[in-house]
């Protein structure tokens, strides 16, 4: 807990929260405009599912980039001042410091996802959606988005801690965004291995097209994809932590 608090102490003046807010503002404005246009064309879309689906699909583009930026900023400060060497020579295990950094990234991502949920709720009330606020969907949305982001963060942190030049980590984030945006175009067999494509898979709502008509439908949590995403998060976190702890400084 002490190491986690220290991570938040260390990121003061880094303007990470400001960057999160800017990215979130861009994403949510896009989501709200897109949903508003959709509602104006088809009043049946004035339901909670429409904003949930739109935001989940945009998460594929925005969240990998946001995750890469958060993690990269957290790790870069250790590279820039050679402070990993300083911390490594203290009586604190490097594994614990690595976990604290991941914990800090997780809290910031949770903050972003919860903020998204709050903004969607506000948008829904402002639009006067016909159906009742689906609390269960919101919880599933927060959980699913966070899970995929945590998996992406574990990969990003491994890269950011290993490779000093953060351009590599940011490129991976951009690649993740590309995969997240175009994930739906990949064949199922390929997509299931791409963690960034799972924002839509773990969303409580999806869309079905039949006879040129798009309909929002509830989708059950796919256990294989959820398990794969959680497994990737755990494995990359563990191996990344072990690597950071054993690497010679």
């Amino acid at each position: 807990m002490r190491a986690l608090k220290l991570e938040f102490y260390k990121i003061r003046r880094k303007k990470i929260v400001l960057m999160i807010l800017l990215l979130l503002a861009a994403e949510m404005m896009w989501a709200f405009m897109s949903t508003s246009v959709s509602i104006s064309r088809n009043p049946d879309h004035a339901v909670w599912a429409s904003i949930l689906f739109t935001t989940a699909s945009l998460n594929g583009l925005f969240m990998p980039m946001m995750t890469a930026i958060i993690v990269s900023r957290l790790c870069d400060m250790e590279h820039k001042g050679s402070t990993w060497k300083l911390l490594g020579a203290l009586d604190v295990s490097r594994g614990r410091l690595y976990a604290a950094k991941y914990g800090c990234a997780a809290v910031l991502l949770l903050l972003a996802v919860v903020l998204q949920a709050m903004l969607m709720t506000a948008f829904g009330f402002m639009q006067g959606f016909a159906d009742k606020l689906p609390a269960e969907w919101l919880v599933r949305y927060i959980g699913g988005t966070l899970l995929v982001s945590l998996a992406a963060a574990s990969v990003q942190q491994w890269i950011s801690m290993t490779v000093r030049n953060q351009a590599f980590a940011l490129c991976l984030g951009m690649l993740g965004s590309f995969v997240g945006l175009t994930g739906g175009l990949f064949p199922e067999a390929v997509r299931r291995w791409l963690i960034w494509a799972h924002y839509m898979d773990l969303s409580p709502v999806t869309i079905r097209y039949a006879d040129h008509v798009a309909t929002f439908v509830t989708q059950a949590l796919p256990p294989d994809i959820a398990a794969f995403t959680a497994g990737t998060a755990a494995a990359c976190f563990l191996f990344g932590g072990l690597h950071a702890a054993r690497k010679e400084i």
Binding site: A3, K10, R12, M77, T83, K85, A89, V92, E248
Partner: protein
């Protein structure tokens, strides 16, 4: 009673960098770890802190094995390795707070460390705006923060101007008496070690070529006898009949180390044969000459 051994390494080895090093640092010493650039000093210090894994050999610090008691040893050790480490976006005080929180030391230590390195007036300035000397002093303050029993400093005066170097040296010199610390200090400057250290270890190409007090290093320095005569050629021939092998250098006959009575005998013999002796002198090598000889570097390091 002899002081306790604080650091003891046994055949400490890092492949291609350090070979079978047997270091011994005793309590209360300022141990100067001297060697040219690339000799293996930093690698050795990193092994002592567990930042680099040795290929072979053992390290005992405070009588405990580093491998099995790393945490307990590091709790009592402060260090500054290579360039100072700092968070540029944080102030000097905030940087110290980071270490303070991880070390779990009281607030008064932060104030004391700032006072010792004379950074009180710059405590609220961002570390990235510090001069190199101030960054170095901040690094030392971080190392001092828990007032450890052992302080490991890797070339702490690197890149400083002469005034800054003297300031840091003065600070290091005061630490054993002021805070009861043992200091292990690396440098590639003999003059620096000569001014600060009480013991010295000389490393070259990863091998320890000397270890002991500065006095014992000086004692290894046996002088050479130089004789100037009115006829060096005749004098040299005469000396060779006595089994000596004089070399002629700068108009002097240079002999190895000789006892006083042998010098008197040579003088008498030359004068008896009518060769005027104009000068007899003993020349000792400087520590620098010895260091350059030991490290096989005859010119600048």
């Amino acid at each position: 009673m002899s002081a306790a051994t604080i650091i003891q390494t046994n055949k400490l080895t890092k492949k291609n960098r350090v070979h079978e090093l047997n270091l011994e640092v005793r309590e209360g010493e300022i141990y100067g770890f001297l060697g040219p650039n690339g000799a293996g000093k930093t690698t050795t210090l990193k092994m002592l802190l567990g930042l680099v894994k040795p290929t072979a050999g053992t390290i005992r610090i405070f009588g405990e094995n580093l491998r099995s008691n790393r945490s307990s040893i590091l709790r009592r050790t402060g260090s500054l390795i290579e360039s100072p480490s700092y968070y540029g976006h944080l102030t000097g005080l905030e940087n110290l707070r980071v270490v303070q929180r991880l070390r779990g030391v009281p607030d008064k230590n932060v104030e004391e460390a700032l006072r010792i390195v004379r950074l009180e007036k710059h405590r609220d300035k961002k570390a990235e705006a510090y001069s190199l000397g101030m960054k170095q002093r901040l690094g030392i303050a971080m190392a001092l923060l828990s007032f450890p029993k052992l302080l490991i400093l890797d070339e702490p005066t690197n890149g400083l101007d002469p005034a800054g170097m003297e300031e840091i040296r003065e600070l290091i010199r005061s630490l054993p008496g002021r805070c009861g610390m043992t200091v292990l200090l690396s440098s590639h400057l003999l003059s620096e070690i000569e001014q600060i250290a009480t013991s010295v270890g000389i490393i070259n190409e990863g091998r320890l070529v000397f270890q002991g007090s500065l006095e014992s290093l000086r004692a290894r320095n046996r002088g050479e006898i130089r004789i100037a005569t009115g006829d060096n050629a005749a004098a040299a021939g005469l000396l060779m009949t006595r089994g000596l092998r004089p070399e002629t250098r700068n108009g002097r006959l240079v002999l190895g180390s000789l006892a006083d009575r042998d010098v008197a005998e040579i003088n008498r013999m030359l004068v008896d044969r009518g060769i005027p002796v104009t000068r007899i002198e003993e020349r000792k090598k400087t520590l620098e000459d010895m260091f350059l000889e030991m490290t096989g570097r005859e010119r600048s390091l």
